[in-house]
């Protein structure tokens, strides 16, 4: 018998996720090349051009998403910035959960504590990268040199934080056996009921109207 599923992500959100992932990856890669001075002067200019083209999409994809899906965008921000006690407890216990196996974890809403942290970091560091990036691109010669240097370093710091956490996000959503339906939910938007109940109990109960037992 085919397993019953619940809708977790809608098509615009899935499309947005993958388009943004492509742009994000290009920016991370070109940013890394510049950060580690890997391309020399000639190559550096070309890499910077690619980085800037990607940056335009990095800014306008979220803007378009907000315009066309304001409810989803607000939901995204709420998930990132509003934390309940259970999400915080999940985050606190997650290291032990991933390394030492099944621990008593509190029921989670639409996102668990780790996913909320990733969403928060992507949002905050993305905004910092955009603001500092605009200054570096358009106002390089308008701002003082000392300020310019600190802006450059802040831009680099936002890159470092994201680079540090990106492998964890990639691993947990693709290779980690405990979140086996995570990737598929970002493809067809659905997860099985049993998976939803196990991983996102509070969200599942709210969505289905199921009483807490």
């Amino acid at each position: 018998m085919e397993q019953r599923t619940v809708e977790r992500c809608r098509k615009p959100a899935i499309l947005m996720h993958w388009l943004f992932a492509i742009v994000f990856f290009v920016m991370l890669l070109t940013g890394g090349v510049m950060f580690f001075d890997l391309a020399g002067m000639d190559g550096g200019v070309r890499v910077r051009t690619i980085h800037r083209v990607a940056a335009v999409f990095f800014v306008f994809l979220p803007v378009l998403f907000v315009l066309f899906n304001p409810k989803s965008a607000i939901g995204f921000l709420k998930e990132a910035f509003i934390w309940d006690h259970d999400a915080a407890v999940w985050l606190k216990r997650s290291f032990g959960y991933y390394f030492r196996g099944k621990r008593q974890m509190p029921p989670q809403g639409y996102l668990n504590g780790d996913q909320k942290l990733w969403q928060l970091i992507v949002t905050v560091s993305g905004l910092i990268a955009i603001m500092t990036g605009i200054l570096l691109w358009f106002f390089k010669l308008k701002i003082s040199l000392v300020f310019y240097q600190w802006i450059l370093l802040t831009h680099a710091a936002s890159f470092m934080v994201v680079l540090f956490l990106f492998p964890v996000h990639f691993y947990l959503t693709t290779l980690y056996s405990g979140f086996e339906e995570s990737l598929s939910s970002m493809i067809d938007g659905k997860v099985s009921e049993s998976y939803a109940r196990e991983h996102y109990k509070k969200w599942f109960e709210e969505k289905t109207g199921e009483e807490q037992g």
Binding site: D42, F68, V168, Y176
Partner: protein, 114 residues
């Protein structure tokens, strides 16, 4: 839908227009521009992006070397901290990748045992 798309296009156009108005890349006269063309390759080889060369020239013409540079190829504040950042970044990324690999190993072992 169309109104939203129009707003998006207007925002885009506004930002680009503001950037074009605010950023002046034409602060050198033709003779100075020619000078930039001839001077840059002495140190840097071919300079592929012309407007970038002008920016670099402007920056270098406006300050004493010692204001920004500790020595050739390094900026005082940015480069000192950037060097620390590079190693910090390598350390953080290694830690992150190591954690992922250890977890993959631990979980595969656990799943194999189950």
């Amino acid at each position: 839908m169309r109104i939203k798309a129009a707003i998006a296009v207007m925002i885009l156009a506004g930002i680009i227009a503001a950037a074009i108005l605010l950023v002046d890349d034409k602060s050198l006269n033709p003779a100075e521009l020619e000078n930039v063309r001839s001077i840059c390759p002495e140190c840097h080889g071919e300079v592929p992006e012309y407007s970038y060369a002008i920016k670099v020239h402007n920056r270098h013409a406006a300050f004493e070397c010692g204001f920004c540079h500790r020595d050739i190829g390094s900026l005082k504040t940015a480069d000192s901290i950037h060097k620390i950042f590079k190693w910090l970044c390598i350390g953080m990324l290694s830690l992150s990748l190591m954690g992922v690999l250890v977890n993959l190993f631990v979980n595969n072992k656990k799943n194999g045992a189950d």
